[in-house]
Subunit: 255 residues, 2 copies
């Protein structure tokens, strides 16, 4: 019962978010002005202002001083992350991709997972463990957690046909992503799944994505160090792309 009372500014935010997610408000539509919210929700203008300002910072809205507040249209850019979808990356190399689902279950978030997803310990999350192979050779072990209420039908998906990444972009528009890359020694299980030599290092990518202002998913992506590297390309806004950068051939590092 208790249902501890949410702050008023949060109630205003929820109202707007609700209308957007129900489709009542479409991108570029006008959102109630601060003064209209003052009347309809009986809050002070500063409270309405905070709600709209935070929703703007979170990427939902777009404000124009003197004009109004509008629903932002954020397109889930396909090339936002260079390595968003391992299947596409492999296909781009002209190789064959296959995936094997090792685990697919409903769990309770604990420890690192709960912290990463900003949920209470014990909250329902889906856990998916998938091995991706390039021309039959294991290239990525995907260990992914998804907040359950974002993806009610997660257990019904066949992740050997649609990758978890592709599924997630479909259900939750990408708003923000965070990526942490580190080198590590894999444990025995990871080494076995990825068919790695003893002592071979592992490239580990921790990735979180946000949608609608909340973390949606947290994934640990393990790659065998001898067969995989992460590439990124950057062009500052407004500069014409000159020569497409051909990949540096890698050799022994002697210095």
């Amino acid at each position: 019962m208790s249902a501890l009372q949410k702050p008023r500014y949060q109630q205003v935010k929820d109202l707007i978010i609700g209308r957007i997610s129900r489709g009542e408000l479409q991108p570029a539509d006008r959102v109630p002005s601060e003064n209209e919210l003052v009347e309809s929700m009986k809050v002070s203008r500063m409270t309405a202002n905070r709600a709209l300002r935070e929703l703007t910072d979170e990427g939902y809205l777009h404000r124009v001083a003197g004009s109004g507040t509008f629903v932002a249209d954020f397109r889930a850019g396909s090339h936002v992350l260079e390595v968003q979808n391992i299947a596409e990356e492999i296909a781009a190399r002209g190789h064959g991709h296959s995936a094997e689902t090792l685990r697919q279950s409903l769990q309770h978030a604990r420890g690192e997972v709960a912290r990463a997803l900003h949920v209470e310990q014990g909250t329902d999350v889906f856990h998916v463990l998938v091995v991706h192979r390039e021309n039959g050779l294991p290239i990525q072990l995907e260990d992914r957690y998804v907040v359950a209420d974002f993806a009610p039908d997660c257990l019904d998906q066949d992740f050997s046909r649609i990758t978890p990444s592709a599924y997630l972009t479909a259900i939750a528009p990408l708003q923000e992503a965070e990526q942490v890359v580190r080198a590590a020694q894999p444990n025995a299980a990871v080494r076995k799944h990825l068919n790695m030599r003893d002592g071979e290092p592992c490239l580990v990518v921790l990735r979180r994505t946000w949608s609608r202002g909340r973390p949606v998913t947290f994934g640990r992506l393990h790659h065998p160090g001898s067969r995989y590297e992460l590439t990124g390309h950057y062009t500052p806004p407004g500069t014409p792309r000159s020569t497409s950068a051909d990949v540096v051939e890698l050799e022994k590092l002697e210095q």
Copy 2:
């Protein structure tokens, strides 16, 4: 020359950020309370509150109701994956940065270096080898090559005072950048310079940048796997972010 007055809450934010990046405030240190800011900066409490609240949302601070506001000690995010000046990164964590130049010489490009820089074998390049330390602990071995005619005064620079990255941004406007990340076993020399355990993996970043249509520099950045991870933060285009100028500065790519 009215240099376009910043909002008061932004001035407060700048003050705090400045103290952190100059090292006057260390992680877990206590930040002035709202009421102290009211007195010292002659702002209202709501303005101080907004400044501290936004810095908290941005990950700089950590607040405990009833206790106080403190410098956050994780501070990983906020930089794009196409990363940054190692000195600034360390400063943002509130730690001390130092650099030691191991080598600084004029060489002839050969093998991988010549190919990466798109120059003929034997072309003049400057070679710089620098160890960067965070609070005295080696955190990056920077092995960098610069095309000579871009940087005639490269040998005169003191890279323990200005980082190679900062120097290069000064002489060559960034046009394009490429980055390759991999996990590897370091050789003995690298392991020694970075004070790494036997068998500890290494995070290696290969980075190339272009200016005026030509490759300028090629660097191999070795990081000890146990002490370093690369973090990236993405926001899709069209997602309006906080428009303050210092955010743009943070996201600017470093050479």
